[in-house]
Symmetry: C2
Subunit: 214 residues, 2 copies
């Protein structure tokens, strides 16, 4: 490895705004890329890309994500508050430009589905739109929001209801193969990446080294 350098808090605080955003957004590591689909009480749909979804628990099945009203319009947050539901849809390499484009500031009466050429899909009785092009889609039910007072963002805690996925993704032991369908991850604000499997490691125990599973 090359030279280790230090960027102190005082230094990055004084970065120009956009540069600081790029820098700090890179620090947590690779991030998931998901589209949140919502519908307002009067039927207007909305689609918004996020990179902050994280696993919160398997029993009950909970997922969390952050909405920042300051940088993205509040349409997604308003719709979730009104209807108490949304969908979460994995972004694939096939449609990453269209997914990224949902971050543009469209007005409330413009649906990102139409503007970004992604297809609304309605599954069974669930009112919020899924993204037809995605290989893994979840129907989410709003549980509660936690205001992050430090910066005015909102943590949305949601319960996972139905999961729709491509049949070949689901392994017998419950693991879902995200890589072979082209699920992407993101780093920083705007860098998209496919993945390259190293393998799965056995459950760690204190008395032995983990094995790569066959």
């Amino acid at each position: 490895m090359s030279n280790q350098i230090k960027i102190s808090e005082d230094e990055f605080k004084n970065f120009e705004d956009r540069k600081r955003a790029r820098f700090i957004n890179s620090l947590s590591g690779f991030k998931s890329s998901n589209l949140i689909g919502t519908i307002s009480s009067n039927g207007q749909t909305n689609l918004s890309i996020i990179s902050s979804a994280f696993h919160l628990g398997a029993n009950p099945a909970l997922i969390g994500f952050i909405i920042r009203p300051d940088v993205s319009p509040r349409h997604t947050l308003n719709n979730i508050r009104e209807t108490k539901i949304c969908t979460m849809n994995h972004v694939l390499a096939d449609f990453v430009e269209k997914a990224h484009q949902t971050s543009a500031r469209y007005s409330v009466e413009q649906s990102e589905f139409k503007s970004c050429e992604l297809t609304e899909e309605y599954l069974e009785e669930f009112k919020a739109p899924f993204v037809k092009e995605s290989a893994l889609k979840m129907a989410l039910e709003f549980v509660r929001e936690v205001k992050i007072e430090e910066n005015g963002t909102h943590l949305i805690i949601s319960k996972i209801k139905d999961v729709y996925l491509q049949e070949e993704m689901l392994c017998e032991d419950g693991f879902i193969n995200l890589e072979d369908v082209g699920t992407v991850c993101v780093s920083g604000l705007d860098s998209y990446h496919k993945t390259e499997r190293m393998g799965r490691l056995s459950y760690a125990k204190p008395d032995k080294k983990p094995d790569w599973l066959k």
Copy 2:
């Protein structure tokens, strides 16, 4: 794409525990892989792998992560509560087996640094240990914890202080190149992946399609 199948909440609730954990842990998409370094007030170090770190804001610079006291021992949480600091260190492909091994249930008097053959590094006056082998390391200051009542986990909100990284990773515009040093991401509980760059997309505007940046 192949056949779209549905796994309902009733179905996955009835999966055997470990299968449900693998399934639900796969749903948020690719996750960051980080090592949290801590030290107790009497000098005992601890190292713990997490996949829940997420960007919380650039100004102030905040990062969030989840600690689940039920599956991992509470040592990390106790140390953060005692000392109000920790380090976060990106996991690289080079030492992914060692990083995974920190999830084994070591007793409180065993340091995962020693047991998993990773090297403690102390930088300037910061009391908590960094991971020498990592290419991106952060000194974090505890801000507060949010109890997630739904499942007994804890969201730790931390402020980013000093950042240490390899010189060649930092781009002029603030973006950090995580890929070329071999930073990994994880899917499910145990699957590790390198990444393959697609590129960076231009800032999205409503009236034009995004471009891949040169």
